[in-house]
Amino acid sequence: MSEESEESVPLLPLQQESMASALFNTDQNDNSERRRHDNSERRRNDNPGSETNGQPQNNIQQVVEDEEEDEELTLKYGAKHVIMLFVPVTLCMVVVVATIKSVSFYTRKDGQLIYTPFTEETETIGQRALNSILNAAIMISVIIVMTILLVVLYKYRCYKVIHGWLIISSLLLLFFFSFIYLGEVFKTYNVAMDYITVALMIWNFGVVGMICIHWKGPLRLQQAYLIMISALMALVFIKYLPEWTAWLILAVISVYDLVAVLCPKGPLRMLVETAQERNETLFPALIYSSTMVWLVNMAEEDPEAQRKASKNSTYDKQANQPQNGDAEPDDGGFSQEWQQQRDNRIGPIESTPESRAAVQALPSNSQTSEDPEERGVKLGLGDFIFYSVLVGKASATASGDWNTTLACFVAILIGLCLTLLLLAIFKKALPALPISITFGLVFYFATDNLVQPFMDQLAFHQFYI
């Protein structure tokens, strides 16, 4: 059953990953940028009806101070954010490499996707190169087309279409691909299993995943699910992309990412700007966020909720509630369970105008125990997927094996670090793929071809450097 269905991997998961990678390569900056936005808005509004902290804020000086503090705070929290992203990226890569090394299914050649129709089993190298270039071109144009389609849908507010699209792709990933994965793992370890148990397991896994990703759920569980679906998607790519095509696609997609996020007319930039204008967050199902503390309703339903009550709030990641139109009693997203959870975490706190004024009067660099959770950083799932594809391909096909894998891993982490540093300096949405993928590719080819023979000889003679 697995054999015939692989050939025609449908359009949907590819769409999902293209959206993820193409779009949200880093929205990390939304946090600080929008917070600054809101701060300055709030300051200039001076509207007693708005949800401020009960203190008149019409001080331009304070705006400037806040911006300086923002700058300090952003950079001061830089190291923590980098680690908040290192851990999930590392986990995703570990899952992918572990699977590649143990489950032979994902390194076996079983045909190619319909997006890469040209085969690489040709007689001459020139033909192979040409085929892989054509494959990469087709794949990248599919990604471009779907990104533009997504931007158009978003611009014309066809939210239902987008959500339906996202739900179908995550359904496919969570149920179908994980079923195949589970089956292959069982085959590898020769575990006998009946369909009923498998059906129960997959059903539970999938439903909980859908709930966590598209609705509400514990943060760690949601992060775990996002990592798992990124790993599943990366494994699909590793299996179905032939070698040269895969490297070419990685290179081209990082160039595309650079162009799409930084050029003024780039689709991703337009998407991010439109979202910022409308003061909405982007699709939560496609972004890995390291923190979720406050739930705030979306713009259309509740204009008041746009003004954040506290300077250090983070964003909502659940876009669904207001989109569905049917409003629950408007508790601003601070539902009962959320209150209980918060009470469990930091003790019962009720905010009164006096307490809010007191907090406002505190020096802004007071370190509360909430700090690690207050400022989150976001990374698109497409980045996870392509990083894992690079490392997975390195571990699958390199002659240097673990050395190459390790080198690519370190290179990608350093690229991510540099990207976050640039983010802290430039404070706008940045593509996360180019630097990391460039380093990764350079180190892959260099380690595989230059370092590996050297290390081989050294190990043979047992010399140490």
Partner: protein, 289 residues
Amino acid sequence: MTLAVFFGCTFIAFGPALSLFLFTIARDPLRIIILIAGAFFWLVSLLLSSLIWFIAVKASDPRDEALQRGLLIFGVMFSVLLQEAFRFLYYKLLRKAIEGLVALSEDGCSPISIQQMAYVAGVGFGLMSGAFSMINLLADALGPGTVGIHGDSQLYFLTSAFMTMVLIFLHTFWGILFFHGCENQRWWEIAAVVLMHLAVSGSTFWNPLYVGSLVPSYLLMAVVGRDVGRWIPAAPVGGRGPASLQLVPVRPGEGFWGLPPGDHRPLQGPEGDFQAGTGPDAVLTRWGY
């Protein structure tokens, strides 16, 4: 072979380094970043040196065994020199980073001192060097086979693990020593590090005569470790050191490891008693300032 050898060699080679990582580095994000950047710098130095070696090999006759061995020895020496050069570059980068961190912090203190960075950088270099030497061996150790069936040494895995461990420690100590030398313009310390590294790598040319390589390396590690340990003050560092260190005060109350003094046993000073070994004045006298 199989699991026993795999786990044994893994823990011999990486056990101490892993505990160093877990207890001193893992809790601080900044140190983790410095560790990974150190690993990256080591990797780049390896890349460049293997490029040179590769070019040399391709330009030579592949059948001449003696020449190939000579080229390999040249490759090793060149790689050692390049590693130390990159250590120096990393030192420069970290100096700049400290200035940036000081400028961005609110109280004018860097959250991490150059000595801590030296230690973490050393561990980074060591871990990456050890990983590159050992990981493929460990992967092979998991599979079936007999060690030394063709007449080579049967202790191959074990000695590799021990050599890796000693190299990781040595890199850590060299990192501290090197940065200390750079900070205080003591060029003889830097030269000592380079020479020691060359000596240790050179001693591995005696392999498989392991007494020629392992024993000197362990002796060297003990000597360097004792000297470096004497120099690491248990008292707060930075603000009371020589003028060059005065630029970067570190938050008072933090020992070298960032723990409040008294949380760990300070290292034995030359006087032999802990009381005199702690405290800022003792630091100054110990360093001769």
